[in-house]
Symmetry: C2
Subunit: 450 residues, 2 copies
């Protein structure tokens, strides 16, 4: 009997997150205060985000961080997520590779984002906040934080990138059903938004701009904290629950991955699946490859520059040492809204620089072709973001076929695409296009980085 | 530690469906051939649906029916579905009742409908069919059959009720992503559709009409079988996997339900959760109540007439002894499209007649109010159909609060509502309304029944 799915019992669920920073051969360079240009401190970060998250962000020593019991209680509600052997996809490709995916789409909000939304909301509530605010691109993160806020009793305000707000009204409705206040960004509700709309009245928004708006709201509202769904080290930390579970589940399947793949926007789901396995490369001499799959229209890992840059369009955040396309870079309106971010996160950037991971870029049409094959063979409509990981997994599997290798491929299915059917419609009707970016466009923005 | 979710291991999964017909104190009256008015035979039914399904339909003797291994293999892919203790909802209501729900929304297609789509597609394929056709109201059944057809290698054509086709384009897209041919009904592709459109050019469709179109296509196309997602006894049989699992899961929770609740359209999800528990009322003297929650705008159980009537608008199906509003009844355009059906299914109708179950009706506004409370407390956006079960469960829980009773309430969450956010938007913006039906309207249609 072919076993397709592997679960963990409640008692097997990991009770700690894994902090890769403790094991990195070269530690990341420090983030710098935007004002002083000195290395940022927990106190400074804690003005913006919860103190606990700030302290996790700068923790370079503790390998394991306890998951608070109220967060564990919520994790038990939807975790473990299934590890699935993709027999259907393997058969369709005729590959000797063994393809596994971790199905994060089964969380209540439909994506991995809840793994970090829960602890972030919990810490804010513990520390006395009454309100929390954030930005969202595709809407997955905003949905997760809306629900997590409701769970822990916080009011939540979400700035949703305008193109996504208009293209995906269902996403907004889900956040509103969870009780959140949703504002399309850029908006007239912040200085950052007004400045952009004055220059470009029809600006369709970007993650960088929406971050500026949410950060500004947090800094100017009493008892209000900001929460970020990707890029930061504490977000990657929380997401390691994915890879820690996958490690135990792969043991049940009697296999170990040769390649681990995640789509890449700011790094949350990629680091979640990759970091726990990467520790065995660093500590135990394993030779697993780690592949981040980004869109060709927002290629910070494959074509960006490693430098100090801001995390948001207006320059409110600390300066971060990272691969970036420049914080003024506004990516084309691809449907994978969650990958439309100019920078790569501090830890990931260091890992890429040090050759501990790889990156590939994917055209939009290729990702939807991969997503539809996956839907037909595995029965799940994948998020446009996740389609990047699927496309990269298919590339690996096809290489295995050419070379007659039975490699073990593991990718993260970060979320479902049930809110993104407009994109699938466009693909099926032939009206979807690719967006490539010229070196000129990239260099123009990178040159603006100070 | 509060345990929220209960699962079964693969070895604990039921391997047989439960056939309530074998245990019914009074057997249902026979269905009659539309032509001869004689009791229908397996041979006659097998012209339309698979022979195996036809034989299950008329099986009054075998209590347990084996689930074929290829169907079990697919069941293992998404089953058991979680049994969830709704602590969040209980707290919000302040009720001493224990509320459980069976979460069928986690199936790959988002609802319980896959439980019957898989065996129906499998039997058709086994018996040599190359094509399969059906109707869909809300789209849940069409989605399930589209995917099941892909799994077993059949081409699938779906007639989708026009109002739903236009209101929920995402549903259509999902079916197309699974490779199905989707046609809005009434269409000009069948005699039944042309007849209706000639009389009413702007007809928005009904399940009864869409069934007529699908049946006509099946009867006039070589190697094409018809499949139905509700109403029929073999569909209820396949859906008993829900209640059989729930029974084992309730044992793990150390409880037994005092009340079992399902929303009601044609009976598929209600019978799935109810029948396995009902056998203990019949055989072991248990006193569980079974409550079917139907919309007040389509009240066949609470206000329909028990009589012989057709299952479709054009009168292609056998005559069925059932509670009906008349096969020409076209219900108002409520958002719970899956409940917009004029009749109740032969087994259910007999059970209601014999006092073995109850029915309640729910206004549209009340169901969305209940659905939003559920979303905020349990983190899942419920389908508008499922909201009827939630509303009925809340009524029961509130009565427990008034009476200080700790009853155990179990309801079936038949599916998620992520394709139905337009309806939630309308509710949140105050533009959603109730639809009540006058006795006159009901009697007018019932009088047309011959």
């Amino acid at each position: 009997m072919k076993q397709k799915r592997y679960f963990l019992s409640e008692s097997e669920l990991p009770k700690q997150w894994y902090n890769l920073q403790a094991d990195m051969p070269k530690k990341p360079q420090p983030m710098l205060s935007a004002k002083t240009k000195e290395p940022i401190t927990v106190d400074e970060l804690a003005k913006l985000i919860s103190r606990e998250a700030a302290s996790q962000e700068l923790n370079m020593t503790d390998r394991w961080i306890d998951i608070p019991e109220p967060v564990m209680e919520m994790y038990r509600y939807y975790r473990s997520t299934p590890l699935v052997r993709a027999y259907g996809l393997e058969d369709a490709l005729g590959t000797p590779a063994h393809i596994y995916f971790k199905n994060e789409s089964v969380s209540p909000v439909g994506s991995h984002k809840l793994n970090s939304a829960l602890p972030q909301a919990y810490y804010c509530k513990q520390e006395g906040a009454t309100n929390i605010t954030t930005e969202t691109g595709a809407g997955q993160w905003g949905t997760a934080l809306s629900y997590a806020s409701k769970v822990f009793g916080l009011e939540c305000a979400v700035y949703q990138v305008k193109i996504s707000y208009n293209q995906k009204p269902y996403r907004r409705s889900v956040m509103q059903a969870f009780g959140a206040q949703v504002t399309p960004s850029p908006s007239m509700s912040t200085r950052a938004g007004k400045d952009i709309l004055t220059l470009y009245p029809n600006h369709q928004g970007s993650l960088g701009t929406a971050i500026s708006e949410a950060v500004e709201l947090a800094l100017t509202t009493p008892n209000c904290k900001y929460a970020l769904g990707s890029v930061m080290g504490h977000v990657s930390l929380h997401q390691t629950i994915i890879g820690l579970e996958a490690e135990l589940q792969m043991q049940k399947a009697g296999e170990y991955p040769d390649v681990v793949i995640g789509c890449f926007g700011g790094g949350s789901n990629f680091s979640g699946i990759a970091f726990p396995f990467m520790r065995h490369n660093i500590l135990d001499g394993k030779k697993t490859r780690f592949v981040a799959a980004e869109p060709e229209s927002c290629p910070k890992l494959t074509r960006g520059k490693f430098c100090y840059d801001y995390g948001d369009e207006s320059g409110y955040t600390p300066l971060m040492p990272m691969f970036s396309l420049g914080h003024k870079f506004c990516p084309p309106n691809i449907h994978a809204g969650g990958l439309r971010y100019h920078g790569a996160g501090v830890i990931i950037s260091q890992l890429l620089k040090d050759g501990l991971m790889e990156a590939v870029d994917m055209s939009q049409l290729k990702t939807f072709e991969a997503g539809l094959l996956f839907a037909k063979t595995e029965g799940i409509i994948p998020a446009p973001e996740s389609c990047h990981a699927i496309a990269a997994a298919i590339d690996e599997a096809n290489r295995c076929k050419e070379n007659g290798e039975s490699k073990v491929i593991l990718f993260n299915l970060s979320g479902h695409g049930l809110m993104d059917m407009t994109a699938y419609d466009q693909y099926l009707s032939g009206s979807l296009t690719n967006y490539s970016i010229s070196d000129e466009d990239i260099n123009k923005n990178i040159e603006q980085i100070k």
